[in-house]
Assembly symmetry: C2
Homo-oligomer: 381 residues x 2
């Protein structure tokens, strides 16, 4: 039932991803959590397996298939395995569309082969220490110098920040104009003089994810590293945010479902007072409410995915999916943890890991408050 | 207003505790979190300062004052500082009453001086891998052998488990009887042959707290290490659980208040869209709701404390305080974290630490479901 929106190829693909995750990710993830970063080797393996750049043109080594269901399948399998450090989603769902839609042929020829092979890891840097929700408040600037740009500023909370070889940096290019009309996207590459990484941030969860600070001190960015149109950065961002948010919703529902399934099993086997804890009416009601809401979330999500496949997902619907599913995920994880008793607080249980990993979902990609702003405004109030 | 139930001595004492925490705990806590355990030296310093065994008789080095408000003051200051690894609460609020009420003079003379000086750290071991909420399901046994007992079994989730020198162990002493009529308390000491520690458990939070597994393999416990009456262990436990639960409520309210105060400050200073984030109506409503519920919780808690000081706190009221305040703490911490945006997910912010530390409050000391069972049953339904 769940898979009504998937064809046989999607399901077969998902199986192959599951196998890849089982073989190449699960055995190493704990090690990566200790290291605070995923081994770059994994990216190359994923490239070989065809998991990077599914919707990039085949001439550049991509899959050549523009169908979000494949991206969702990758992300779901990674989430179900608790492999929260693996930043393929950011690369595939968030950065790829910028390159696909905005890069020139010359740029594609330079970056896409590495993007798809896993040699070139990407990131996108919008947020700054002083401006997150309010992106118009960013202070990073890029000033023309001949054909080049001189980039100055600081970014923070950047996913894949340490591993990234290529970073989409949002910078003000017209200091006179409002940010929405004076911002551009510049592609900053590993090794450019003045491009420095700050701390790999110490977070509540996502321990294997290298979320980092980035600093730009008079970085000379060549003119042909401008992505899209000058001063049109905000339009480009607005165009791509719905897919980013849908991707977060995919992870939210998959993550909540996985935790829920594990908890149902736990309630069948753990006993207290001479019966399985699932025998207590409170437990059954908790599970019943979660089963209902997860079913509703899954149905809505799959509908959003199909709309997106049909090119019809708008910003408002993506916002609805993002806030509601991540809020649900938080509640489901919290309730499932409670049903585990003391074991729920022990890191060896998947529900404990889900608790620390999932809390950020209501924050990044636009906070749930910002989602409600978008939806509220769409109502004309 | 908050301190209506406190006299000048309580307030002065609280100040001295605050100073102690600032000097002797805060500078070292991060180190202890990395080590997974608090330095024993702290316990000796606390002993010198008079923070251990306030209600133990003066002849044994205690404070000689039976007034829960002093214990609450210690716990509040530790919680406010985020010093979640420091297990004084377990020692002072949970174990001390067992010793005060049940130990013989000979036992007191043996243990109390160390208890108060911090040389002797205590723990209480009820929970087992297979039985937590349902304590009657425990399997640890103690069998008579002459004057001694031969103890066998495994305990888990034991606070201060690694540091403890003296452990109150709940064991079945009459295998024929129902557990409620055939259980006793045995005092197991560091170094007894067959008493072994298992893992220092890897938890979501409370990183400096040594919560551990304990194993007993044919441990010979001398007859004069029996605490209280043979086979009356359950009565002794029931008698002391209300104070343990009240102590958890104290920590819940103090912890939530501290996080809330920090968040109000944050909302005044963090800006977005040209105004402090406290300027958004949603933020103000969130804060307003939390302010209200915290006020209600504080009032109820202080009333419970005064009832307890007057010897009138019953199991049902303690259960109400425990579940409601810990549930509130969870909600307050979660909402405050959200108001911090991305920073809320960074471990350097106190709200992030509160998020991982506080989740267990609804679980230990009797789960919130068990609290509702106790309250529900008291209604005669
Ligand atoms: C693990 C992690 C990974 C991330 N990855 C990336 C990345 O790869 N690239 C990137 O650019 N960024 C990334 N971010 C940043 C993320 O997108 C921002 O944290 C988020 O957008 C919120 O911004 P902020 O942290 O500045 O919070 P703020 O904007 O300061 O918000 C603080 C609070 O105010 C509320 N608020 C703000 N405006 C309003 C309003 N108008 N009405 C009501 N409430 C409001 C917010 O909802 C929030 O509760 C990441 C963050 C994290 C934690
Ligand atoms: C950090 C930490 C410190 C601890 N410190 C100590 C300590 O110092 N000493 C000690 O002895 N123990 C300690 N504990 C153990 C703690 O008291 C138990 O974890 C708790 O009592 C729950 O027991 P359990 O884990 O076996 O959960 P279970 O009893 O297995 O419960 C599982 C789930 O079933 C629910 N449930 C159980 N019975 C019912 C019912 N009748 N109706 C409805 N729902 C029900 C529970 O509420 C829970 O949600 C600690 C635990 C932790 C995590």
């Amino acid at each position: 039932m769940r898979d009504r929106h998937l064809d046989a190829e999607h399901i077969a693909f998902r199986e192959s991803v599951r196998e890849f995750v089982r073989r190449e990710i699960t055995p190493y993830h704990e090690e990566w959590e200790k290291a605070g970063i995923v081994d770059r080797e994994l990216w190359r393996k994923a490239g070989k397996q065809g998991l990077l750049g599914i919707d990039v043109d085949e001439e550049y080594g991509g899959g050549g298939v523009r169908d979000f269901r494949y991206l969702a399948a990758i992300s779901e399998e990674i989430v179900r395995a608790g492999a929260s450090g693996v930043g393929f989603g950011l690369h595939n769902e968030v950065v790829a569309p910028y390159l696909n839609d905005l890069a020139t042929d010359e740029q594609k020829a330079r970056w896409m082969p590495g993007f798809c092979s896993g040699e070139l890891i990407t990131a996108i840097a919008m947020t700054e220490p002083g401006a997150g929700s309010d992106l118009q408040g960013i202070r990073t600037t890029a000033v023309r110098d001949g054909d080049d740009w001189i980039l100055n500023g600081a970014k923070t909370f950047i996913t894949n920040g340490i591993n990234a070889d290529l970073v989409v940096v949002v910078a003000r290019t017209d200091p006179e104009a409002k940010a929405s009309k004076g911002t551009s996207l510049l592609m900053v590459e590993r090794g450019m003089a003045g491009f420095e990484r700050g701390r790999n941030l110490d977070k509540i969860g996502l321990k294997a994810q290298d979320t980092a600070e980035l600093f730009f001190n008079d970085v000379r960015v060549p003119g042909n590293n401008l992505l899209g149109e000058v001063d049109k950065g905000f339009y480009h961002l607005m165009h791509n945010l719905p897919q980013e948010r849908l991707g977060i919703a995919v992870a939210a529902v998959a993550g909540a479902e996985a935790v829920f399934e594990g908890t149902v099993e736990y309630c069948k086997t753990r006993t207290a007072f001479g019966q399985p804890i699932g025998g207590f009416q409170n437990t059954r009601f908790e599970l019943a409410e979660m089963a209902t809401e997860l079913d509703i979330a899954r149905t809505y999500l799959d509908d959003c995915i199909m709309r997106h496949v049909d090119g019809e997902l708008d910003a408002v619907q993506a916002s609805k999916a993002k806030w509601w599913t991540t809020d649900l995920q938080k509640r489901v994880v919290d309730r499932c943890l409670q049903l585990h008793g003391g074991y729920g607080y022990m890191m060896e249980y998947p529900v404990a890991k889900a608790f620390i990993d999932s809390r950020v979902q209501a924050i990044y990609g636009g906070t749930n408050e910002i989602m409600k702003e978008i939806i509220g405004r769409s109502l004309g109030v």
